[in-house]
Subunit: 182 residues, 2 copies
């Protein structure tokens, strides 16, 4: 669980990133910034901030913010019913993103893993995304990503998002965030 004080602090930092990029949000969106700590209570190391613009039966668009060196843990979006799983494109808007996917292991990868969690990161093919660069993941592909020292802002374009079905490599994770009193 994230304390309300910590939620508000991280929400404000997230809004600063959006401001820096010229991304305009409605007041309602600003009030509903999602701060995901994955139940790990190490938000600045393992976490993700986001706003969902739209999520219909067919497609979804979000903006993601990563704090400096913050990591979104390894996960995949499995097939659900008639869907083969979520297809997603990440487009970097600000900062640098180190994205890891299945494939030949990159030597000397840039990401530095949060201590004690090394075993929960299993794919090591590195894709580096700078502003204006993007990468598309096929459904059900394991992936994780980490921001560089400046943090990062990333647009995500995808099929329907059903975060509650995401499968994380780290069995200690619960995806849906819980904020004290929210």
């Amino acid at each position: 669980m994230i304390s309300l004080e910590e939620y508000n602090q991280i929400r404000n930092e997230t809004l600063d990133y959006f401001n820096r990029c010229g991304i305009v949000l409605s007041e309602q969106e600003k009030a509903n910034i999602e701060v995901a700590d994955f139940g790990l209570n190490r938000i600045r190391e393992l976490g993700l901030q986001l706003i969902t613009y739209i999520n219909t039966e067919k497609c979804c668009a979000k903006e993601l913010v990563l704090l400096p060196n913050q990591t979104c843990p390894e996960h995949r979006h499995p097939p659900i019913g008639h869907s083969p799983g979520k297809e997603e494109t990440f487009r970097c808007r600000f900062g640098t993103v180190y994205l890891y996917v299945p494939g030949p292991r990159t030597s000397n990868p840039k990401a530095v893993l949060p201590s004690g969690k090394e075993e929960t990161f299993t794919v090591w093919h590195e894709i580096i995304l700078k502003p204006g660069e993007q990468y598309t993941l096929a459904p059900n592909t394991k992936h994780w990503f980490q921001a560089g020292d400046e943090g990062a802002v990333v647009s995500e374009f995808s099929t329907k998002s059903m975060d509650e079905h995401d499968i994380f490599t780290d069995s200690e994770i619960s995806r849906l965030p819980v904020v004290e009193g929210k």
Copy 2:
């Protein structure tokens, strides 16, 4: 057909809009800005500039630029094969967009129609989008839109885009742009 000189001029103005919004494009994207004049040869009145980030079998993301008071003509995205037609969300990033959809006719609508084309605009329910505001269109819904005096930048999140199948109310229109020598 657009002359190469006019294409380059409008492309440069489009890039200025992206710069103003902090939207970063790759060099390849900058070189491939689409300038659609719909075969009408009145680009500053009836036209649209865009870049397509991604367009898979399932989803699509574009950035649209409208020059001051420029109009995207009325059209719909019809069912194709197993698809019910393109579902799309427009999110305003900069400027003002006057979007028109089926529904009760708005009195004193803001848009000013290009002369001689009045009969080719048949839906008049006005949605005004300012930065941070968005609207989602169901498949096969007639719509058209016009920018305010400053022009506009609009993100489009949608299912697969198949522009060549769009159905325009104006029978003089051909959707796919032709640029001299390109």
